[in-house]
């Protein structure tokens, strides 16, 4: 990507609220940013470590419920809430990862999917803690106003993308990628594959946790939807659409698909048809997603 592209994007992000006043647009952007964070978290574990985690919503939901539960009982600063959410997600990744990361390929995917369903059922089964179907509601936001949330959600996303891209360039990141390339060969290169997978899963979970906690503050709700398999599948669609293993693809996918969903409301239920059709077209004709397409056309290196 040309060096000016990120600078130009940052300038547009910074200036937009100053020259354009559309709260709905900013709300959609905040939603897209949150989904992009979750998609980046999925891309780390699936696209770079090569582990297809179909329980990514576990980390997002666990963080949302943790923040909701703590915030409704104690007055804690919002940033501390985000941190607690991230830590809760990491703990959850250890609970899921230690037994599941020994499994490979589809077995790992199915095991994480099952974990996700177990947690969803548990959330519904303890109404005093989780609020059952309604979830935990009226959680006080820690940033007032849509413009503040617009800037903060961008801050979270950009910091996260920057840190992940940096990490992937380090020796540690290369060792994570080597596991995706050839797990056995990584082992024979002296890498403790199980430990690296657990650390990779923890990093992925922490990002998902930050997304879940922030979303909980922004929407004032921690609901069972945040633990649902449907959310994980949306994230998988976003990452595959954008281009798995690219990070920027996860962000692009999140923005395109969120805007598609939100701005096609005028065609009511047909919007899901269009949404699915677009994803299918990309997957069928451009398996590398949007990023793969841009590389093929020479727009990106």
């Amino acid at each position: 990507m040309a060096f000016w592209a990120p600078l130009f994007s940052m300038a547009v992000i910074g200036i937009l609220p100053l020259v354009y006043d559309d709260p709905y647009l900013f709300h959609v952007i905040v939603i897209a940013n949150t989904l992009a964070l979750l998609a980046v978290s999925f891309d780390v574990i699936a696209g770079f470590v090569g582990q297809l985690n179909l329980g990514q919503s576990i980390f997002y939901g666990a963080a949302a419920y943790t923040v909701g539960f703590i915030t409704m009982r104690y007055q804690i600063p919002g940033l501390l809430g985000l941190l607690f959410g991230g830590i809760a997600a990491v703990i959850m990744s250890l609970i899921v990862g230690i037994p599941c990361l020994r499994l490979k390929g589809p077995y790992y995917a199915i095991a994480t999917l099952a974990f996700s369903q177990v947690l969803f059922t548990l959330a519904m089964g303890f109404p005093k803690i989780t609020g059952s179907e309604e979830g935990i509601t009226t959680i006080p936001p820690f940033i007032d106003g849509i413009v503040g949330n617009y800037y903060f959600s961008f801050f979270l996303l950009i910091s996260c993308v920057f840190l992940v891209k940096y990490m992937l360039r380090t020796d540690f990141g290369k060792r994570l990628i080597s596991i995706r390339e050839d797990e056995t060969l990584s082992d024979f290169s002296g890498i403790n594959v199980s430990r690296y997978k657990i650390i990779g899963s923890g990093i992925s979970a922490f990002i998902a946790g930050i997304a879940g906690s922030y979303s909980c503050y922004y929407l004032s709700t921690a609901s069972p939807d945040s633990l649902s398999i449907g959310l994980t599948f949306s994230v998988v669609a976003v990452v595959v659409f954008g281009g798995i293993g690219t990070i920027y693809g996860a962000v692009t996918g999140a923005f395109v698909l969120t805007f598609l969903t939100e701005y096609l409301y005028f065609i009511q239920e047909y919007r899901l048809l269009v949404y699915s059709g677009v994803i299918m077209l990309i997957v069928l004709y451009f398996p590398g997603g949007i990023m793969g397409l841009l590389k093929e056309k020479g727009v990106l290196k």
Binding site: K174, E181, L185, D187, F188, S189, G190, N192
Partner: protein
């Protein structure tokens, strides 16, 4: 001695792949390991390097029992290997292939204090890699893939390097080049355990030879004795004693 294998056995669904195999490999030695196709050579390597678990027997390395350890633990102990089909990280550059392994045991043993850049240069020189280290592994020829695979194995600073059919699929000229690399590595103090079913290659580089057939040790000794051994000649009749390379 550095590597000691005692009474190693492995059975796969009724097939006895390795049976009560014992042998030693001495420090600084090149031990050639030969046998016809299906003799169990690769199974023995897989057992020694922790890829599969043995049913019985013991493997010790520098006096420590390494039986049942996982591959990365055995690599950390100083035993590294290559594979029958050259195996590298295809979508990574030559440099990154080495860094993945290099980062795990920086500058240990006889290269204590060596910087990473020095290590990369030394390792690539030792395998005569002439390509820029930014080249992608998937774009390499078979010959360069073999070099990269050996370089990756060297990046974990092994004292023992196990090579599984290192000249498989190479032309006679490329084969000579790999033989030169093996001799250079040995001169640097690395012990080598080389699996090959092509006897000509092993005769040129090995200090001693170990021969198995049907998972059972036929004999071991100096190359000139082995090639006149009637049991070895008989076991090789199907392949031709000197193979094709």
């Amino acid at each position: 001695m550095t590597l000691q294998v005692k009474h190693l056995s492995k059975k796969f669904k009724g097939l006895q792949a390795v049976s009560d195999l014992s042998f030693d490999l001495h420090e600084g030695e090149i031990l050639g390991f030969m046998g016809p196709n299906g003799a169990g050579k690769t199974t023995v390597i897989n057992l020694v390097t922790g890829l599969i678990k043995s049913d019985a027997g013991e493997v010790t390395w520098k006096g420590n029992d390494i039986t049942g350890l996982r591959p990365h633990q055995i690599v950390h102990a100083g035993v590294s290997r290559t594979f029958q089909q050259a195996r590298v990280f295809q979508n990574m550059t030559i440099r990154d292939n080495l860094i993945v392994a290099l980062a795990n045991r920086p500058g240990s043993g006889r290269f204590e204090g060596e910087s990473r850049e020095d290590a990369l240069g030394r390792i690539l020189d030792s395998v005569e890699m002439r390509l820029p280290d930014t080249a992608l592994a998937k774009d390499l020829t078979q010959d360069n893939l073999r070099r990269l695979e050996i370089a990756r194995a060297l990046s974990s600073y092994p004292d023992l390097l196990i090579l599984d059919e290192p000249v498989s699929g190479l032309t006679p000229e490329e084969c000579d080049s790999i033989i030169g690399i093996i001799q250079r590595l040995n001169n640097m103090g690395i012990s080598l355990f080389i699996v090959e079913h092509v006897m000509r290659m092993l005769m040129r580089v090995s200090h001693r030879l170990l021969v198995i057939s049907g998972g059972i040790k036929l004999c071991e000794g100096f190359p000139e004795d082995i090639c006149n051994n009637p049991a070895v000649i008989e076991s090789y009749l199907g392949d031709g004693l000197y193979g094709s390379a």
